[in-house]
């Protein structure tokens, strides 16, 4: 019984109209966001998918039926369910299910690292350029343009080539190709915001440039950036696979999903499962990101806090 009272006490604490502390206020905001997330079935589905991804990555050794690297040439290309391979076996007779489960680690690693680098940097460049204007804008945007104008693969390849092949460097290279798009979006948003009344009001109150950008402009840019970011995630996973395809990403026998597809695509007409299973994995995870991002957009948007 005491547990339940505690729970309802927490609920009350989280739904009060007069928060007592900054922490409580933040918690309430978070809780309200959570409620909205739960009430949006698509977004919640996305959230669940990503939860499963994280779970798989964390407990891969316990979840995978066998070692992802064990080969058995005699049982290669077994269809799903045959020879004890739940999702079939690949061209070297490795268990596809185990490889996908272990591969979730790599995918999570790629996605996290790109997500904490490229959008942040892009936001920084874009908002400063947009808000400050003048020659700073001119210079920052020229640099952005140079990077944007590069064929992405050329840029990524060159950076990996210079830094050495491997998954970390591939991620870095992807971030380098990804940030300019965020910068431009952030700038476009900033341009529409910077002359608005409330920014003028804040400025009149004597707020410094840095303060305005960080506290007032960034939150407003965030929704577009997040929408863009979640939409990019699928592409990022595939770009990592593309680099792997050129021998610059994950090195074999690492069970990277994209590399698994490209190894399996020559069997696609008859042994469809070899490419399709990792393809489905990528598809589901991308869908998860996209669904969640789409929902987050509504939740994070400060401009329309109706409730």
């Amino acid at each position: 019984m005491s547990e339940q009272t505690e729970l309802s006490g927490l609920k009350a604490w989280l739904s009060t109209d007069v928060p007592a502390s900054r922490f409580q206020a933040k918690s309430i905001q978070f809780y309200l966001g959570w409620l909205k997330l739960v009430s949006n079935p698509l977004a919640f589905l996305g959230f669940l998918i990503l939860l499963v991804l994280v779970f798989c990555a964390m407990f891969a050794p316990f979840l995978a039926p066998v070692d992802p690297l064990t080969q058995d040439l005699a049982k290669r290309l077994s269809p799903p369910g045959v020879n004890g391979y739940l999702l079939g076996s690949d061209e070297l007779g490795r268990d596809i299910l185990s490889r996908i489960i272990y591969g979730s680690r790599i995918t999570l690693f790629i996605v996290t690292l790109v997500a904490v680098t490229a959008p942040v940097f892009g936001l920084l460049v874009g908002t400063f350029a947009g808000y400050l204007g003048g020659w700073i804008d001119e210079v920052l945007m020229r640099v952005t343009d140079i990077f944007l104008a590069f064929p992405k693969l050329v840029l990524a390849l060159a950076f990996v080539a210079a830094l050495g092949a491997g998954i970390e460097n591939a991620i870095l290279a992807i971030s380098i190709t990804a940030w300019p798009a965020y910068a431009r979006i952030a700038r476009a948003e900033t341009l529409t915001i910077r002359n608005s009344d409330f920014i003028s009001a804040v400025r009149l109150q004597g707020a410094g440039t840095l303060h305005i950008i960080v506290r007032h402009i960034w939150p407003l840019c965030l929704s577009s950036i997040i929408v863009r970011m979640t939409l990019d995630m699928a592409g990022i996973i595939l770009t990592a696979a593309g680099l792997g395809f050129l021998g610059l990403g994950a090195q074999p026998p690492m069970p990277e999903w994209g590399a698994m597809i490209s190894a399996g695509r020559k069997f696609i007409l008859d042994q469809w499962w070899v490419a399709t299973m990792p393809g489905l994995a990528i598809f589901i995870v991308s869908l998860g990101f996209n669904l969640l991002g789409d929902g987050l957009r509504d939740i994070l948007d400060p401009k329309k806090s109706k409730s």
Binding site: L69, Q71, L73, A74, R76, L77, E91, L92, G93, A165, F245, L246, G247, Q251, P252, P253, A263, R265, K266, F267, I268, L269, D270, Q271
Partner: protein, 536 residues
Amino acid sequence: MLFGKTIAALSLTTALVMPMIGAIPAAYAETPPNMLVVAHRIDDLISLDPQEMFEFSGTDYANSVYQTLVDYDDLDFSKGFGPSIASSWEISEDGKTYTFKIAEGLKFASGNPVTAKDVEFSLRRAILLKKTPSFILTQFGFTEENLDETLVAKDDSTFVLVSDKKYAPSFVLNCMTSAIASIVDSKLVMENEVDGDLGNAWLKTNSAGSGAFKLTSWKPNESLTIEANPNFSEGVPAMKRVIIRHIPESASQRLLLEKGDVDIARNLTPEDVAGLSGNEDVKIATDMRGRIMYISMNQSDEILSNPKVVEAVKYLIDYEGMANSFLKGQYVVHQAFLPLSYLGELKDKPFKLDIEKAKALLAEAGYADGFDVEFIVRTEQDRLDIAQALQNNFAQVGINASIVQGTGKETLGKYRARDFQIYVGAWGPDYPDPQTNADTFTHNPDNSIEAKLTGKLAWRNAWAAEGFTERTEAAVQESDTAKRAEMYVQLQEDFQKEAPFAIMFQKTEQNGLGASVEGFSMGAAITGSYYGKVTK
């Protein structure tokens, strides 16, 4: 705001157009009867100049567009070389002077007659241009300085070739069948010369031959189109036009073949071949090719230069397992450096996967617990699969192998710089004579790093080839064919025991053909493919 309306209008248009697209008659009948359409990967083609090109697609092209002094019968290679531009030839007593009689009445596609002057021009051109395949001719001692004595047209119908030493005649004549010995139309080429380049720039994208076809157009990475040469001496081909389309994906090639949009699909996987087996409109042609797959160990590496380690590695390869699984239909187990069907071929396969034996050998070498090693592999699915299978077997004796993949040029660069430990490689012969492979696998006159004999595999692996080098030189001068063959057999037997190369496989090629296609030659292990006798 016009925007909303524009969008609405566009939406409407799309809505109207979409169903119409669905309604177009799906009139994809077969390809026209006198046109041959081939799906092939031709991105290795970077020049059409026969005195310059060296890649696989290049050899195919040279076969179709150019003729050589002597040539093979493309439908029966066992006959050996026979007359082509040369109607007959004589070899002098000392075995150095070859006198060729040029066949009468031959014409180039341009209408110009084929004369001994053209032969002289073409062979000299190969020496003067100094392109990659020129070694095939320079190994007979031809140099820029002695051309006036060594490669000479005595008159319009007599051509004389003088080599520096006495060589096996079969060796000399075999080399004369290779792409670099193609005879070009000297008049036409020289009309297009720029800055003394002997027409190199022009011939890279044009043709000037007397073969079955002439070039219509070459769009790199897109298509290569050739059309029948009306002046061809052996009869104008039935196919008036041959279009080779660059289709990189094997699955796409197969779809095109099944739909009848191409007549020949040249890069099918074993799984595609199996998938096509029930299809009555399609047949599969299989041919042995000359390409050899091997792994090699850098002898400047401390561990890998231990002979026991080298031997152990040869027992750590699951030859049969690979050939019967992911390489099925594409490679057969073969453990000697000369391809089957070559003079001196060796069929022995002394090695098989034997983990216990390998363990024992490693223990003898002092590496009972294994060691760390790195493979460099070019990014190509077959080779990556081989490398991963090897990695798996190596792990069973404690050898921890990592794979570093790279593009073809990247790994090749490392290989040529001796900057690697184990290389997963392939080698295709340049001309149909045992010397082509012996020269690279077993000939290394100077193993020092300064010598930079980067064209030779023995040098790249820092293998001094002691004893082998001299025997290779002796074999190429032996004019008794049976004796010569025996020399190569022994050379290969010793090579299997000692050399830091583990030869694993020889290529077989499986092509999908439309049911009515006849007369197509893939070229066996000897040469490139030939479309001149195709009918359908």
